[in-house]
């Protein structure tokens, strides 16, 4: 008598145990389009949109998987969100998925930027546009200062003098003395890792 229900219902046994965890891996085109959409929505930063799309909207990863993968992308050099597209895409669909996500993330905004570059090259000297861009630049610098303040707040609260000196040192070397990035980082990164290591041992002890 059980013929009705038998065949198709067998594999998703465990489905109710982990509700809303994961749906099947998306196709390459869907992956590419999803990254294109989050990229085009992401004025002033794509990360928020990426998290919303991957975790909440498409359920391709759990929140924990997202955080873990993002931590890796954040820790490596380069534009985080670009790293993230490659790593996320490849976790879902192998290297082809990585390339699909990477292309989706970068192609549409790159085309837009190229068009804007052409417009700027032709009309950049028009007085109206120059004045508007000057105003936008001022606001953009203000936004950057706000981000720096927000990131600095936890460091200031902890008042670890060595860490603050290190931060100030990088600021002076790059911003005021205009030393080359590579040279500064080759000194600063080992120094900072050493300091962090020693401080964590002190806290643990």
């Amino acid at each position: 008598m059980s013929t009705d229900s038998a065949p198709a219902m067998h594999e998703p046994d465990q489905a109710p145990a982990i509700p809303a965890a994961r749906v099947p891996s998306p196709g390459l085109l869907a992956l590419s389009l999803a990254f294109a959409r989050m990229s085009l929505a992401g004025f002033g930063g794509v990360l928020v949109f990426a998290r919303r799309a991957i975790v909440e909207q498409h359920c391709w990863m759990t929140a924990d998987e997202f955080n873990e993968t993002f931590a890796l992308c954040h820790f490596l050099p380069g534009p985080n969100i670009v790293n993230l597209s490659m790593v996320f895409g490849s976790r879902l669909r192998g290297i082809a998925g990585g390339v699909a996500a990477f292309t989706g993330l970068l192609l549409p905004p790159t085309l837009i930027m190229t068009v804007l570059a052409i417009i700027y090259a032709r009309f950049g000297d028009v007085e109206m546009l120059r004045r508007s861009l000057a105003g936008i630049s001022c606001a953009a610098v203000g936004l950057l200062i706000a981000v720096v303040f927000r990131m600095m707040t936890p460091l200031l609260k902890r008042m670890e003098i060595v860490v603050l000196i290190l931060m100030l040192g990088v600021f002076l070397a790059i911003g005021v003395l205009r030393l080359p990035l590579q040279a500064v980082l080759l000194v600063a990164i080992p120094l900072s890792i050493g300091i962090t290591y020693v401080m964590r041992r002190k806290v643990a002890a």
């Binding site: 570059a117 630049s137 001022c138």
Partner: protein, 176 residues
């Protein structure tokens, strides 16, 4: 044009830079400025600041300021070359590392290194702000606008796009 092929120059410059961009695109701005304005004279100071403003105003990752620099150097091929050079090497590196470390949070070293990079990237971003401010805030009104936006964005959750557009309007009206 110099004897050096500008496309190759873009690729080697940004390819190398991407591997040193700890803390993302905003942290790499001083190095982009140093190379594009001071070393190679690809753009003027003003053009660089405009490029930063355009990149902030446009959708997509902020790192795409390199597309504008590439275009200024070598047209459309330059724009594409600079973008790929800045984005592809670290994306491939991230791919390889993610294959090696399946669960990055299990070891304490990634966490430690990441914590160590935080003060450095804040220092780099502060340097970006200083370098950009030196070429934009040439008047008292401009300085006030920057300070106001910094204050509003620090204490509220206003969408940054509105602040950028407000800045554009004030500039358009000739107030800044």
């Amino acid at each position: 044009m110099s004897t050096e092929n500008p496309i190759w120059s873009l690729i080697s410059t940004f390819g190398l830079m991407s591997l040193f961009a700890v803390g993302g695109a905003a942290a790499a701005v001083p190095e982009m400025h140093r190379i594009a304005v001071d070393v190679h004279h690809w753009m003027t100071d003003k053009q660089f600041t405009d490029a930063y403003a355009i990149a902030q105003l446009s959708p997509g990752p902020n790192v795409l300021i390199v597309t504008l620099i590439g275009y200024a150097v070598a047209g459309v091929p330059g724009a594409l070359a600079a973008t790929l050079a800045m984005c592809l090497p670290t994306a491939l590196l991230a791919y390889c590392v993610s294959r090696l470390l399946n669960r990055p949070s299990q070891s304490r070293w990634p966490g430690l290194i990441q914590a160590a990079l935080v003060p450095l990237s804040i220092g780099l971003m502060a340097a970006s702000a200083l370098i950009l401010a030196q070429s934009t805030d040439r008047s008292i009104a401009a300085l006030l606008l920057t300070a106001m936006v910094a204050l509003i964005a620090s204490i509220s959750r206003v969408n940054p796009l509105w602040l950028l557009l407000a800045g554009g309007l004030l500039g358009f009206a000739g107030i800044v």
